[in-house]
């Protein structure tokens, strides 16, 4: 799990875990989503927070709901 600091809130994501389970590379995921590999790396590392449309695309790609991919927890 990686954390994104947005003000006082943290946003975890399971992209790396789901990607590995699917057996695809960052490059393949990036190409499928129409973004650069650097963007996927940044999201996985937690240095960049994906926009809502991209979060939707990522969740749809893995066949999961947004809540299952991006876990929002307040006041951690």
């Amino acid at each position: 799990m990686f954390y994104i600091l947005e003000g006082d809130d943290f946003l975890k994501n399971r992209i790396r875990e789901l990607r590995k389970a699917m057996g695809i590379t960052q490059d393949e995921l990036a190409r499928s989503l129409g973004v650069t590999r650097q963007t996927i790396i940044a999201i996985e590392k937690g240095t960049y927070c994906a926009s809502l449309p991209l979060a939707h695309k990522i969740a749809a790609f893995f066949g999961e709901s947004i809540e299952n991919v991006f876990i929002f927890e307040e006041d951690q």
Binding site: G34, V35, T36, T39, A50, L54
Partner: protein
Amino acid sequence: MEFKKKMKINMIYYALLVVIGAALAVLQFTGYMPEVFLSFGCAYAACGLAMLIKNGRILSDPEKLKKLEIESTDERNIMIYNKAIRWAYLIFVYAAAAAIMILEFVGMKEAAVTVALTLCALFVLYIICYAVLKAKG
């Protein structure tokens, strides 16, 4: 709009740039324009031609086109681009403010006033852009 279509429209603009540049150069050679327009014309034509060749190559290669499309539309790249503009704006404002004080201090009053007016124009532009963007929602 489809990215390929956008690039094709850009090709028309680049072609226009070449035509304008060549026209300026020719008009200068024939004595209808001041000398300064020769450099403008050559610069326009050269830039337009270079971009035409570059875009032509990209359009003929689907792999390169896809790569460019991803790089141009990638949200993180756009965020970095916008962030760079914000940083450049802030640095310019601080540098101009410092320049005004230094120019005033060394007695170059006219230059200081020019920089100050440029800074004022920038602030007015900022306020207008802010109001327009806010109204757009």
